[in-house]
């Protein structure tokens, strides 16, 4: 089906007789295919839905007016999409220029599951789309040549699209990239090569995932916002715990000669019972389980943790705080020996 599209367009472009109406009709077909493609992929992002709704209208004025909105959407796309998908973060981005200024470009990231797999090895591509007539013709010619020369390994036909709806571009580009091995990459002005920024973004999101997990573990982290404050809280908490351990071991050292040997066997079993009860009452099993198989992956699977985190963590953290309060009360007395 996709190849049919390609040939159809190349034919139509070749003729150069395609009227605006026919072009628009073809574009509309692309829209519908895009919607099919997108609905097949399990993508619930609100931004995507907005885009879909938006490109139902081929209005240039709308495009201009929502230029800023798209910019925000474009920036919001990256993290949202990257959260939804696994490690290979390849996204197709399209840039389309505003009606008035050919140099300005917008970036819209669109990612579906199939595409990521298909393009997982390849570069991201950012074709520039110019909506002016002369530029259109230039693009058409260029794309004709490219599509004629080889179906595989040349850039998309999306460049030629006249009505300049970005999602249409993405749909065509997306559908095309599924079969292309090599994707022509054009760097945007003033931005580094996309592979690096992609990797950067992926890395940043991994880190923020882990920060969120730490936020759930460390009690009292919810009140502070921002990385610096959270890191402060985490540092304080770790220091607290270490100081507690130190104090307890000192206390233990003092009490050690008084430990009854017979009691210790009993106490070991008591610990097991205690922890079984404590853990069961804390209902924090969901929290603990992901910790241990992680050394293989090196990453945290938050999707399993998150639903249970907020409710289950409240109780144990509160109890820990009361315990620590009592401990510190005794510690202030204890350090005087």
């Amino acid at each position: 089906m996709l190849e049919g599209l390609v040939s159809q367009e190349s034919l139509s472009l070749n003729s150069m007789d395609m009227s605006v109406l026919e072009r628009l009709k073809w574009v509309h077909q692309q829209q519908q295919q895009l919607q099919q493609v997108v609905s097949h992929s399990s993508n619930n992002s609100p931004e995507l839905l907005q885009i879909l709704q938006f490109h139902g209208s081929n209005n240039d004025e709308l495009l201009e007016s929502s230029f800023s909105q798209f910019q925000m959407l474009g920036s919001g796309f990256g993290p949202n999409y990257n959260m939804g998908f696994g490690p290979p973060h390849e996204c197709i981005s399209r840039t389309s220029s505003c009606h008035m200024e050919p140099v300005d470009t917008m970036e819209v990231l669109l990612k579906t599951g199939e595409e990521t797999r298909a393009i997982a090895l390849k570069n991201k591509r950012k074709p520039e789309v110019k909506t002016r007539e002369e530029q259109k013709t230039e693009k058409k010619i260029k794309v004709e040549a490219e599509t004629e020369s080889s179906m595989k390994g040349k850039s998309n036909m999306g460049n030629t699209e006249a009505s300049s709806d970005t999602s249409k571009e993405t749909s065509k580009g997306a559908s095309e990239n599924q079969k292309l091995d090599y994707i022509h990459v054009r760097a945007r002005r003033g931005q580094a090569t996309d592979r690096h920024s992609l990797a950067e973004r992926a890395r940043r999101e991994k880190i923020s995932k882990k920060m969120k997990y730490l936020q759930d573990i460390v009690p009292g982290c919810n009140k502070v916002t921002g990385k610096a404050g959270m890191l402060d809280e985490i540092i304080n908490y770790v220091q607290c715990l270490q100081r507690q351990v130190e104090f307890l071991s000192m206390k233990l050292a003092v009490l050690n000669p008084e430990l009854e040997l017979a009691v210790e066997d009993v106490s070991v079993k008591q610990f097991q019972a205690y922890f079984a009860n404590v853990v069961a009452s804390k209902q924090s099993i969901m929290v603990d389980v992901p910790l241990f198989p992680l050394d293989q992956q090196g990453s945290l699977d938050l999707s399993a943790i998150n639903p249970n985190q907020t409710t289950s963590i409240e109780a144990p953290s509160a109890s820990w705080e009361t315990q620590s309060q009592s401990l510190y009360n005794t510690s202030s007395l204890g350090f005087h020996y």
């Binding site: 890395r203 921002g226 610096a228 210790e264």
Partner: protein, 158 residues
């Protein structure tokens, strides 16, 4: 405290003792620590440093699936008085002062804090940031369980 009283009344044992990771950790921890304390007790030369050593050793041995525990073991076996926490307690005073100076510059402040966090974690300075963050997560968990275990031991003997 009430929980302990309740537990003394009804002794409930877990049906699947190996499935729950915190129970597994605490069981291992106590099984390492208590005999070591017994041995120390019998030798009659227990200094506070040595108890700390045993405590850290028990922690490292009970959590061997993590990277930080390997580093901790190395430190413990290499030096005779290796206390990760005593060194950090001196760093603690520095930490408390630092946020006042670093308050304005958030970007640089984050780097500083990450470095401090790395210092707290045994072996953290040799890891990269992502790895360190996940290791910190389970280090915190293990520290919590360790404090619970130590408290129970101390409570039992008093």
């Amino acid at each position: 405290m009430e929980r302990q009283i309740i537990n003394k009344k009804k002794r409930v044992f877990s049906l699947e003792p190996n499935k729950n990771p915190s129970a597994v950790f605490t069981r291992k921890y106590t099984s390492h620590l208590v005999p070591a304390l017994k041995k120390l007790n019998m030798n009659k030369n227990s200094s506070k440093q040595t108890v700390k050593h045993e405590v850290d050793m028990a922690l490292a041995l009970s959590a061997q699936e993590f990277a930080w525990s390997r580093f901790l073991l190395q430190k413990l076996s290499s030096s005779s008085n290796p206390t990760t926490t005593t060194s950090s307690s001196s760093d603690g005073i520095r930490i408390l002062e630092r946020p006042d100076k670093e308050g304005g510059n958030e970007e640089g402040g984050i780097e500083e804090r990450l470095r401090e966090l790395k210092k707290l974690l045994p072996g953290g300075e040799e890891m990269n940031v992502e790895e360190m963050l996940s290791e910190i997560g389970n280090y915190i968990k293990c520290l919590e369980l360790q404090t619970i275990a130590l408290k129970s031991i101390v409570q039992d003997s008093t």
